[in-house]
Amino acid sequence: MVAVFAEFSQYFGNGLALGAIYALMALGLTLIFGYMNVVNFAHGEFYMVGAFFAYTFIVLAGWPFWLGLAGAALGAAALGLLADRFLLRALRRHDEIAMPMLATIGLSIALQNLATIIWNPVPKTMGSPASGDSLNLGFMRTRPQLLLVVALAAVVIVGAHLFLNRTRAGLSMRATFQDPAAAWLMGVNVNRVYGMTFAFGAALAAISGVLIATIFQITPAMGGLATAKAFVVVILGGLGSFPGAVVGGLLLGVAESLAAGYLSSGLQDAVGLMVLVVVLMLRPQGLFGRREVVAE
C-alpha cells in the first residue's frame, strides 16, 4: 500500500511540474491565439529559444541562474517584438487566419534550423540551481528541482495575472482586444499593444523553456511537440481563458505523467491529442471558454 502510494505520488509530482510548465507556455499562447487571433506555430520555438538563451547565459557565460532566466525572457520578448513588427503587423489587415499562420510556420522553420546551426543538434544539459536529495513533504516525497519548477511557475503566473489586471498596460491590452477601434479612439496605440502582447506571450514561452531546461535535456527540435501541446492546453482550457490555460496545463501534465507511468511511455504524447479531440467533440469552447463562434 505504501509502495503503491509512493509510486503514485512520484508520477503525480512529475506531472505537476510538467503541468506547471505547460500552463506557463499555454498562458503565452492563449494571449497570442485567443486575443490576437494568430495561430502561432512558432510558439514552441520561443520556448526552445528561451531554453538555449538560458543555457548560453548560465552554463557558457557563467551568469547566476536568476540573471540567466531574466535574460532569456527579455531576449525572447525582443525576438517576439521583432516578429510582430516585421512579420505580423503587415498581415493583420488580411483579416484571416491562414496567412499569419503560414508566416509563423516559416518563422518556426527558420528559428529551429538557425538554433541547430548555432548550438548544434546534440542534446544539452543545463542543470537546476536546486539540487540535492529528495525532500519529504509529509504526504509525499519529491525532488527539489521539481519544487523549484512549480514554485517559479506559480510566481510567474501570479505576476502575469497582476500585470493583466492591475496595470495600465494590461488594461489597454484587454481593452484593445475587446474592441480595437474603440481602444484606438480612446488613445491606445493599438499596434504597440499587439507587439507587446506577442512579446509577452513569447517571454512566457521562454520562461517555460528555461524551467524545462532545469529538469530535462534540451535540443533545437524540442519546439515542435511543445507547440502541439500548447494548442492542446489552450483548447482544453478554453481559447483566451487565463484560468483555463493554468488548469488545462496542470491537467495535461498530470494526465500524461500518469498515462506514461501506468500504461505505456509511448502513450505520453498521444494522451493530450486524444483529450483534445474529445474536448472538441463534446465541449469545443473548452473548460472555461465562452460558447461563441466555435461550431456550426
Binding site: 508566416a103 467533440m281 466555435v294 456550426e296
Partner: protein, 350 residues
C-alpha cells in the same frame, strides 16, 4: 457573361484556347524531366508529381470551401501504410493495395470529417491538426503493425503480375497519368455545382444555406475527396520509394502541401500544380546553402506570405484580371476568386 467588351471576349477566347496547350506543354516538360533527366532528377520529379496529387486534393478543400485542414498528411500516411501492409504482409498485388488505400483514406476522411466539420475557423484547424498528429503517434508506437520508428520496407514497385516498374523513369509515366487525371477531376469538380456551392459557402455560409445550398454535404464531399486523393498520393509514394516510416504522417508533409497550394495559388487549377513542382525543386536548388538550407527555406516562406499572398500563379491570374477590369467592369472573372479563409470574428453559424 453578358456585356463583355470585344477585347475581353477576344482575350478570354485566346486564354481558353491557350489553356489546354499550356497544360500539354507542362505535361510534356514533366514527362521529359521525369523519364530522361537521369536518376537524381527523375526521383525529384516523381516526388513533385506525387505532391501534385496531394496538393490538388487539399486545394479542393482549402481553395474552394476555405476550410483549412492541418491533418491532411494523415490520409497520405494512411494510404502509404495501407498499401504497404496489404502488399507486403498479405501479398496482394499492387493495384489492389492502391485501391484499398483509397478506400481506407476515404473512409477515415468521412469519419474525421464527420467529427471536425462541425467546427469552424481556428477550431477546425486545431481539430484536424490533432488527428494528423494522432496518426503519427499511432504509426510510431504500434510497433507490431507498423514496424515503429524503424519503418517498413520491401514494398513492391508499381506493377502487376510480371510487370515491375522499378526505376523512377519506368514508374514515372504511371504517376504522371494519375496526376493528370486527378487535376482534371478536381478542375471538373470546381466548375460543377459542388464547386460553386463550396465557393458560396466560403463567401458566406449563412447566405449559401439560405439559398438552398447544402453546405454540410458539400464540405463533407470535398473533405472525403481530398482524403482519397491524399491516399492515392501516399500509396504511390510507398510503391515508388519502397520504404516508409512514420514520417509519412509527419507535419512537414502537411507544411509542404500547404505551401504548394497557397504558394502556387489558392483556388486555381494550375496554381497547386506549379506550386508542387516549384516547392519540391526549391529545397534541391537550395542545396548550395548547405546547413543554411532550411533557414533560407523558412525565410522564403515568410517573404512569400508577406509579399505574394496570392501565390505564384494566383498573382498572375489576379494581374491579368486587374488589367482587363477597367475596359469591362462587369466582366465575370475567368478564374474564380480564391476563397477567403475564415476568420474567427465572422458572424456565427448556428
Amino acid at each position: 457573361m453578358s456585356g463583355g467588351g470585344m477585347s475581353a471576349v477576344m482575350s478570354r477566347k485566346t486564354l481558353s484556347r491557350l489553356r489546354p496547350l499550356g497544360f500539354l506543354v507542362l505535361l510534356y516538360a514533366l514527362w521529359v524531366a521525369g523519364t530522361k533527366g537521369g536518376p537524381y532528377l527523375d526521383q525529384v520529379v516523381v516526388l513533385a508529381t506525387i505532391y501534385v496529387i496531394m496538393a490538388a486534393g487539399l486545394n479542393l478543400l482549402l481553395g474552394y470551401s476555405g476550410l483549412l485542414s492541418l491533418g491532411h498528411q494523415g490520409f497520405y500516411g494512411l494510404g502509404a501504410y495501407t498499401t504497404a501492409l496489404l502488399t507486403v504482409n498479405a501479398g496482394l498485388p499492387m493495384p489492389v493495395g492502391v485501391a484499398a488505400a483509397i478506400v481506407v483514406a476515404a473512409l477515415f476522411g468521412w469519419l474525421v470529417g464527420k467529427i471536425t466539420l462541425r467546427l469552424r475557423t481556428a477550431f477546425f484547424v486545431i481539430a484536424t491538426f490533432a488527428f494528423g498528429q494522432i496518426g503519427y503517434q499511432v504509426a510510431l508506437n504500434w510497433v507490431s503493425l507498423t514496424g515503429g520508428p524503424a519503418g517498413f520496407g520491401q514494398i513492391p514497385p508499381i506493377g502487376a503480375g510480371s510487370v515491375k516498374l522499378i526505376s523512377p523513369e519506368e514508374a514515372y509515366p504511371v504517376v504522371l497519368v494519375v496526376a493528370a487525371i486527378t487535376v482534371y477531376v478536381v478542375a471538373r469538380i470546381s466548375h460543377s455545382g459542388l464547386g460553386f456551392g463550396l465557393r458560396a459557402m466560403a463567401e458566406n455560409e449563412n447566405l449559401a444555406r439560405a439559398v438552398g445550398i447544402d453546405t454540410a454535404r458539400g464540405a463533407n464531399l470535398a473533405f472525403v475527396t481530398g482524403a482519397a486523393l491524399a491516399g492515392v498520393a501516399g500509396s504511390l509514394y510507398a510503391h515508388t520509394v519502397g520504404f516508409i516510416s512514420p514520417e509519412v504522417f509527419g507535419f512537414p508533409i502537411m507544411i509542404n502541401t500547404l505551401l504548394m497550394v497557397i504558394g502556387g495559388g489558392l483556388g486555381t487549377i494550375a496554381g497547386p500544380v506549379i506550386g508542387a513542382v516549384a516547392f519540391t525543386a526549391l529545397p534541391e536548388v537550395l542545396r548550395f546553402g548547405d546547413q543554411w538550407r532550411l533557414v533560407i527555406y523558412g525565410v522564403l516562406l515568410v517573404l512569400l506570405v508577406r509579399f505574394l499572398p496570392r501565390g505564384l500563379w494566383g498573382s498572375v491570374v489576379a494581374a491579368v484580371r486587374e488589367r482587363r477590369r477597367p475596359a469591362d467592369a462587369d466582366d465575370e472573372p475567368e478564374e474564380p476568386e480564391p476563397a477567403p479563409v475564415r476568420h474567427t470574428e465572422e458572424e456565427p453559424v448556428r
